[in-house]
């Protein structure tokens, strides 16, 4: 089984978010970049599938050379091969197009992406790839087991879980539940050493049509200070919520 794991490089969750060039660009100065948390669940799941079923794992990202550290990390965690499509993504469509183009020229059975990236939070890339390739798409996927060519999956729906059966090839938008947080792999020394010898291929991109354009950023209005209420005067809290905030 050939598995493709699509990952993206995002600011670490604890990063301060700032913008530069007159608030038109994300300021990456001093920001630590990590594998998008939703992608990390999928990557770890791929490593488990490989341990159980002799699979090969290709990890892919779209970006300029500065994103290569996350590919090296993914190789250290257990991917066999890495691909960087040399293109700085401008919108979901152009990103999906590059990835779909690569998948078309290869043979993958299972394509794992995250349900969204924790920076732009669009969650559109995997669904677009599904449509471009005319393959099934399981969004918010939180469980996957493999029986030959048959896949059993679960996905989160509003208010519950849906159980699904389908055949490869498919693409999923993964999240927690594919593996648990405690199962996420931290690269060990041996993994880091072997990652250096694993192939990292750079593919040139084609057709850069963007359907949307990011114009500017702003920070949400700062919250007023927190009104502290004495623990012996909970009536005041209820009155505030009822009469001032009008939320109860």
């Amino acid at each position: 089984m050939n598995i493709l794991v699509c990952i993206s490089s995002v600011p670490d969750t604890t990063s301060k978010i700032n913008f530069t060039d007159n608030n038109t660009k994300f300021d990456s100065n001093g920001v630590q970049f990590v594998i998008n948390p939703y992608d990390e669940f999928g990557l770890t799941k791929a490593v488990f599938l490989k341990e159980e079923n002799q699979a090969s794992i290709t990890v892919l990202t779209v970006g300029d050379p500065s994103v290569e550290p996350i590919l090296r990390k993914a190789l250290a965690i257990g991917a066999d091969k890495a691909i960087r499509i040399n293109y700085s993504p401008t919108d979901s469509y152009s990103t999906a197009y590059q990835i779909a183009n690569h998948i078309n020229s290869s043979e993958y059975d299972l394509i794992i992406a995250g349900k969204e990236s924790s920076d732009y939070n669009n969650g559109a890339v995997p669904g677009m790839i599904a449509d471009m390739l005319e393959i099934p798409f399981i969004n918010a996927c939180n469980g996957l087991t493999l029986e030959g060519n048959n896949l059993k999956l679960t996905r989160e729906i509003d208010g519950g879980i849906e159980n699904i059966q389908t055949k490869t090839p498919i693409i999923i938008g993964g999240q927690k539940g594919l593996v648990e947080e405690s199962e996420l792999k931290i690269p060990n020394m041996r993994g880091i050493m072997t990652a250096r010898t694993k192939p990292l291929e750079v593919i040139e991109s084609s057709d850069h049509t963007s359907l949307t354009e990011s114009i500017s950023f702003e920070k949400p209005a700062a919250k007023g200070s927190c009104k502290m209420i004495d623990e012996n005067n909970i009536n005041e809290l209820v009155q505030e919520l009822h009469n001032v905030a009008k939320v109860i």
């Binding site: 669904g127 989160e156 159980n163 950023f217 623990e231």
Partner: protein, 316 residues
């Protein structure tokens, strides 16, 4: 030409998020001088379909034989109706997220998600959206004549228009590329994405046996219950209740955090809430920097008092 809304239903009923999408589309349609047409799948009564008119849908195309789980077919249907539509509007549900990107790719129409601003004029449509887990607001422009839009939940007022919604029923059938073999629905519970009030608790509660008071508080407020990541990781509460960066992002009118310190990963999932209350024994808990109201105190003393006070408010 009309503005298209995907009117999602649950077991034959529409929910507030659907009406929010209709209302949002109606607001745009008044600027563009067009009508709103809803598209809906699944078995829905005529009486329920008519309700789309309350919020401004002039007509609805109903597909009773098609399941909303079949995202591929739903996207194809929407595409057929949307050939000349300027905007196709979705709410921000899991189901919509399975369909909207496909519609965007099919029509080569730009997609903008998590929208929090209305269309202001028709010259050059720019929409504001939440990004960076609500730590930033991004302005995005469409480069295409058509746009696929999904709106952030609980961000737009409903406005009643009382139109008579014209119903067309289509008997089309399709074949899904997914075989749905079962569903587990959390019966009787208010879903986190739709809840107007959420009562959430963390490790400060010391054990799963202490959730009775959380459920009681949620019950009298008509609220959904949620929890922090450590609590779902240790298994005190189901994963479906975990809100935060790697769990669910929520945007209720009121979020009450009990015994949750307010780690940045948790706040990333809740800071779109309109009003936040933090109850914690530790006066240095970071949640107090994000909350609107704070109580330093023991949850086991504060929560029962809060329940009593709300009961007496309700009785007066």
């Amino acid at each position: 030409m009309s503005i298209i809304v995907y009117a999602e239903s649950w077991e034959g009923k529409f929910r507030k998020s659907t009406y929010e999408a209709v209302s949002y589309a109606k607001n745009m349609s008044e600027i563009l001088q067009q009508e709103v047409k809803s598209i809906t799948v699944g078995d829905i009564s005529e009486e329920e379909l008519k309700k789309l008119g309350i919020y401004g849908s002039s007509s609805v195309e109903s597909y009773p034989n098609i399941s909303k789980s079949d995202g591929k077919s739903v996207a194809e249907i929407i595409k057929e109706h949307a050939q000349n539509s300027k905007f196709i509007v979705f709410s921000n549900t899991f189901n919509a997220k399975s369909i909207a990107p496909r519609v965007s790719a099919k029509l080569k129409a730009g997609i903008i998600t998590n929208i929090i601003s209305n269309l202001e004029n028709n010259n050059e449509p720019v929409f504001k959206r939440q990004s960076f887990s609500s730590k930033a607001i991004e302005a995005v422009k469409l480069n295409t004549n058509q746009g696929v839009l999904s709106i952030a939940p609980n961000s737009f007022e409903l406005s009643e228009k009382q139109l008579d919604c014209k119903i067309s029923v289509n008997q089309k059938t399709t074949e899904s590329d997914l075989n749905i073999i079962g569903k587990d629905i959390n019966k009787g519970k208010i879903s986190l994405s739709e809840a107007e009030v959420i009562v959430s608790a963390g490790r400060g509660l010391k054990g799963p046996e202490n959730w009775n008071m959380i459920e009681e508080l949620a019950d009298i407020l008509g609220a959904a219950t949620a929890c922090s990541k450590p609590v779902s990781d240790i298994g005190w509460r189901p994963h479906s209740e975990h809100v935060g960066q790697t769990g669910k992002a929520v945007a209720p009118n009121l979020y009450i955090a009990i015994g949750i310190s307010g780690a940045i990963q948790h706040l990333a999932g809740v800071n779109s809430s309109k009003v936040m209350v933090a109850i914690n024994t530790d006066p240095e808990a970071p949640f107090f920097k994000a909350a609107d109201y704070g109580v330093v105190g023991d949850a086991f003393e504060v929560v029962p008092k809060l329940i009593e006070e709300i009961k007496s408010l309700r009785n007066n």
